[in-house]
């Protein structure tokens, strides 16, 4: 039991208190006390221990709430990105056309259901981190954030998942989450300034990580571009050849192929250029600060940005297809239905990677 309670303590305090409790339990009879009282005392201490104490963290005071707040905010941002994506895509794009068999449609509907729940879970986890932050920060602003961090996600969860919940519960929850975010920022800003660790990565590591990331960005842009030009039109107008589709769009709707292909090329070029620029910078001496985590944040951000702005690059296609063939303006191919999830999760992963900055190596308190 004492060993279990010790697990709830910070690593640097664990062995000290476990040995102390075990000695107290072994000698409780000598002091005329019961072992049970030791266990109860250990339980209370494991809950109330000052977790931000430098002796327990090996860091200056204030680092723990700052780290927890940063992680909590990162998780709430990740959840917000995913839920925003779900709202913008009307609960997730469902493929149409020949390839959209019943199984595929069911798969995408199931994925949309899972994604929303995953986002809510991430939001709740973010709230837990913020609660941990304010418990250790213990300021008035932090306490306000605690309430917002606990109530906001709970209201969103209740509004989304509980049948018959009032329609305003989830939006109010989002509002409270936003207030929690503001409070979290205030907590971060209010924490005493602490010198940042200047992390660097070797050139070989930087180039490898940047190149892998750039390959990922290029792959998404190439697939996304081909989808806009070829796969999505074919899925929107099943049974018709691509050339016929374009010819019909030109004749009936005055579709400007050159301008629209140009828009796709500009879109692709911007994101590929950004990724290549980062690879080039990582190879320079000035790029030493581009650690693999920072590169991942950048590249995941590019993936998310490319997928988001793909909507604008392909807008002309969607409108023209809809006007020409009397379809809706939405995307229909399997790739079009998949990419938004990829973009949302890339941005969410970038947010989480930003929140999970590595901590400085803890310095154990002097063994006395």
């Amino acid at each position: 039991m004492l060993r279990l309670l010790a697990l709830f303590l910070p690593p640097l305090a664990r062995m000290r208190y476990l040995e102390e409790w075990r000695a107290d339990a072994a000698g409780a009879a000598d002091a005329g006390l019961s072992r049970r009282s030791v266990v109860l005392g250990a339980a209370v201490l494991s809950f109330t221990l000052d977790r931000d104490l430098p002796a327990h963290t090996g860091e200056p005071r204030g680092m723990l709430p700052r780290r927890r707040a940063r992680r909590g905010l990162a998780l709430l941002c990740a959840a917000g990105v995913i839920l925003s994506g779900a709202i913008l895509t009307g609960g997730g794009i469902v493929p149409e056309g020949v390839a959209a068999t019943a199984g595929v449609v069911a798969l995408f509907k199931g994925a949309a259901w899972v994604v929303v729940r995953v986002a809510v879970l991430i939001a709740v986890l973010g709230a837990v981190y913020l609660i941990g932050a304010v418990r250790t920060a213990a300021t008035r602003t932090a306490r306000a954030t605690l309430v917002a961090a606990a109530v906001g996600p709970a209201a969103v969860v209740a509004g989304v998942l509980v049948p018959g919940a009032p329609w305003w519960l989830a939006p109010v929850g989002f509002l409270v989450v936003l207030l929690g975010l503001v409070g979290g920022v205030a907590v971060l800003g209010g924490t005493r300034p602490i010198g940042l660790a200047h992390r660097r990565a070797p050139r070989r590591t930087r180039i490898t990580a940047a190149a892998l990331g750039a390959l990922g960005v290029i792959a998404v842009v190439v697939v996304g571009g081909i989808d806009m030009l070829i796969w999505n039109p074919l899925a929107k107008v099943p049974g018709m050849e691509l050339q016929t589709i374009y010819a019909t769009m030109v004749s009936r709707d005055g579709f400007n192929i050159g301008a629209n292909v140009g828009a796709v090329m500009v879109w692709a070029g911007i994101w590929i250029a950004l990724a290549v620029l980062v690879v080039g910078f990582a190879a320079l001496r000035d790029g030493r600060a581009l650690t693999p985590r920072r590169l991942a944040i950048l590249m995941l951000g590019f993936v998310g940005g490319a997928v988001f702005f793909r909507f604008f690059a392909g807008f002309g296609y969607g409108m023209s297809i809809a006007d020409t063939f009397g379809t809706n303006g939405g995307d229909a191919s399997i790739v079009s239905a998949t990419l938004p999830y990829l973009g949302q999760f890339a941005l969410a992963a970038a947010a989480v990677a930003f929140g999970w900055a590595p901590r400085a190596e803890p310095r154990p308190a002097a063994a006395v």
């Binding site: 006390l33 030791v38 000052d50």
Partner: protein, 110 residues
């Protein structure tokens, strides 16, 4: 050393025990002498240690086998602060009693 945000009656009891003993005291004896539950004394000792009022150390080598006992004692500054805190607490809690006594005496004289 940092000042304590609040000094509860239980904190005062712990400080009294540490002041009376003057030397290193085993945590379980602090619990016994205060008559307070371990769930109250353990967090107080941890808070006092964190604030620099108290230092703790493992007991010196003994013939007893098994885990070592943790001993607590007031630091130099902590002892001064503890005496001051206990005196303030006693003054604050005796003042109402004195006021009642004075009022009673005044009433009986009148």
């Amino acid at each position: 050393m940092t000042p304590l945000a609040r000094i509860t009656p239980a904190t005062v009891d712990v400080l009294r025990v540490l002041l009376e003993d003057g030397a290193s005291v085993w945590g379980m004896l602090v619990i016994k002498r205060t008559g307070r539950p371990a769930g109250s004394v353990y967090p107080i000792l941890e808070r006092l240690e964190g604030a620099g009022w108290v230092s703790s150390s493992w007991e010196p080598e003994t013939e007893r086998s098994g885990p070592r006992r943790r001993l607590y004692e007031l630091t130099h500054d902590g002892a001064e602060a503890a005496r001051s805190a206990v005196a303030r607490f006693e003054a604050a809690h005796q003042a109402p009693v004195r006021a009642v006594r004075v009022a009673r005496i005044a009433g009986s004289v009148a």
